[in-house]
């Protein structure tokens, strides 16, 4: 008997639904915060745009654009729902396990990178705009976008 996640679980309905109907997909013109992230393993790219409320801290609107696999697109879509209404500080401190719980299926290390692309990029955007901490292990992430 195999204990590996089967097709049914990894590509479970909720993930496919987020992939096919991504929440918060689009671009915010003149955003308050933005960043672009890349997954060097597969060349996937995601851009994240943030608009803050009147307090300048609470995320009023957050959107993403780019291309990627079902796991990265679905995870980023879920992230948009999770972070809207939270403050920059709260999102910067958001534990990856919270997003992983939402995704709800075990991921291999490679797919974990796919799933984390959106969260990492969002944290970089907030860091650039608000000086919140960079995601763990990613000091210098900005420099990766040499292009």
């Amino acid at each position: 008997m195999s204990t590996d996640p089967g097709l049914e679980s990894l590509y479970r309905e909720v993930i496919l639904d987020h992939y096919k109907n991504p929440r918060g997909h689009g671009v915010i013109e003149d955003p308050d915060a933005e960043a672009e992230g890349q997954n060097p393993l597969c060349g996937d790219e995601v851009s994240i745009y943030v608009e803050f409320g009147e307090d300048g801290e609470t995320i009023d609107e957050v959107k993403f654009s780019g291309r990627g696999c079902a796991i990265s697109q679905a995870a980023t879509s879920m992230l948009m729902e999770m972070t809207k209404g939270r403050t920059a500080g709260e999102v910067a401190a958001l534990d990856k396990d919270e997003l992983l719980a939402e995704i709800g299926v075990p991921l291999t290390p490679v797919r974990l990178k796919c799933a984390m692309l959106g969260l990492t990029t969002l944290k970089v955007a907030l860091h650039k705009a608000k000086g919140t901490p960079l995601p763990e292990g990613l000091a210098g992430f900005d420099e990766l976008d040499l292009a």
Binding site: S2, G43, C69, A70
Partner: protein, 417 residues
């Protein structure tokens, strides 16, 4: 066959050869393993593993140092492996064969040791749109350091080099290096190396051939190709990881500075000055990958026993079969030249389903393919995609594995329907 004036080669029997490869004695996710990622790295036959184990068990010591029996045995084994590589690429002299960790290191050796002292402003380094990053990034980096410029031979619609652009390239400066692969790792395109080498020499340039993908699949003859440097990748041709080789013309190697410096590569060391060792030692600083080199020698024995002609024919047959079977899958887009002009590599995309998702679902059915940019981002840009799926074949690949891939792709479509 007697009495027949054909060049027919003996066919290999992949079902039989497969038994030499212990990796296939297992199931993946409860399914037989369909390993279709040999272009990334090949599997190893028992003969190679035994040769390395035997070396460790009977002959292991550091080479070129000790005067005792084991050191002599180890040295003889390493130098025997060097001679096997020499014969494999038909080099004139074994001293021209330098062991490296991988083909990337071999190309870096040339880029640094030749490029840093021979390139400057006004010089051109010409690569192709088909290059693996291993034969692109080192040249881009060294060009940047020396003020030389990088130029790229583009591809045509079939995924083959568009040589009509060469005349334009010449107008931009002095061509000093032409660096291309023999076989493309992502499209399987077989490049006209002999012709390009001739063109390079007419410009007064050196020609550097990345044969990482070529050497496993076709007979290499550096003299017939007319190249100046040629890098092979041991792990892609049934050898272990960690031992590869660079061949270079002795006259060029002799005139070059070393690449890495340190132990073993010296003639004498004084505070004021160090002098370099003879070829090939000048380019082999530190302890060599000894057991791995022995494994590479055994891999060459294995490939030659099967026959490179037979391997090449087998791969062409599989490529044709795969292009046909994959063509039946609705929504598939195949990249690259027709089967008769490509090695056993097929890149494709399925509808707009991301290759990571395709490969993940295939894995659950025991099928291992590569998904990504294959270290060829300039090529992916040309194709207008971030990534592709790639199935690649070798001497142990059987048509049943391609059938398993095709069945898997139907399952992928069902998930994303």
């Amino acid at each position: 066959m007697i009495g027949m004036a054909t060049t027919a080669v003996t066919k290999l029997d992949a079902h039989v050869l497969r038994r030499d490869f212990p990796i296939f004695e297992q199931e993946i996710h409860g399914k037989p393993l369909a390993f279709l990622d040999s272009a990334a790295s090949s599997q190893k036959p028992r003969q190679v593993l035994d040769a390395m184990t035997g070396f460790y068990e009977t002959s292991y010591a550091n080479v070129h140092r000790g005067v005792y029996v084991l050191a002599e045995r180890a040295t003889a084994a390493l130098e025997h492996a060097r001679e096997r590589v020499r014969a494999f690429v038909n080099a004139p002299d074994a001293r021209e064969v330098i062991f490296t960790r991988n083909a990337t290191e071999g190309i870096n050796l040339v880029a640094y040791a030749w490029g840093l002292s021979n390139l400057g402003p006004g010089d051109l380094v010409v690569v192709t749109e088909l290059e693996h990053h291993s034969n692109f990034v080192p040249w881009q980096f060294i060009a940047g350091k020396t003020g030389a410029e990088l130029r790229m031979i583009p591809l045509d619609e079939q995924g083959e080099l568009d040589l009509s652009t060469l005349d334009e390239v010449v107008r931009d400066g002095r061509v000093k290096v032409v660096a291309t692969n023999l076989i493309s790792n992502s499209l399987g395109t077989i490049n006209p190396v002999a012709k390009l080498a001739e063109w390079a020499h007419a410009q007064g340039a050196i020609y550097v051939c990345d044969a990482a993908q070529g050497a496993p699949h076709t007979k290499i003859d550096v003299q017939a190709l007319g190249v100046d440097f040629l890098a092979i990748s041991g792990h892609k041709m049934c050898g272990p990881s960690g031992a590869s080789a660079l061949w270079g013309k002795a006259e060029l190697l002799l005139a070059m500075d070393p690449f890495l410096t340190g132990g073993h590569m010296i003639s004498s060391v004084r505070l004021e000055k160090t002098t370099w060792g003879e070829l090939p030692h000048k380019f082999e600083a530190g302890t060599a990958p000894m057991a791995e080199a022995v494994g590479l020698g055994a891999a060459i024995d294995y490939l030659e026993a099967v026959g490179l002609d037979a391997i090449e024919a087998h791969e062409h047959e599989l490529a044709a079969y795969a292009l046909g079977r994959l063509g039946e899958v609705p929504g598939i887009k195949l990249y690259g030249p027709p089967a008769d002009r490509r090695a056993g590599i097929v890149s494709f995309n399925l509808e707009d389903i991301h290759p990571h998702d395709v490969a993940q679902i295939l894995d659950l059915q025991g099928v291992a393919i590569r998904a990504g940019h294959h270290c060829c981002q300039p090529l992916m840009q040309k194709l207008g995609v971030a990534a592709t799926n790639r199935a690649s074949f070798y001497l142990y690949t059987i048509p049943e594995e391609i059938d398993q891939l095709v069945d898997g792709l139907h399952a992928v479509r069902k998930v994303f329907a």
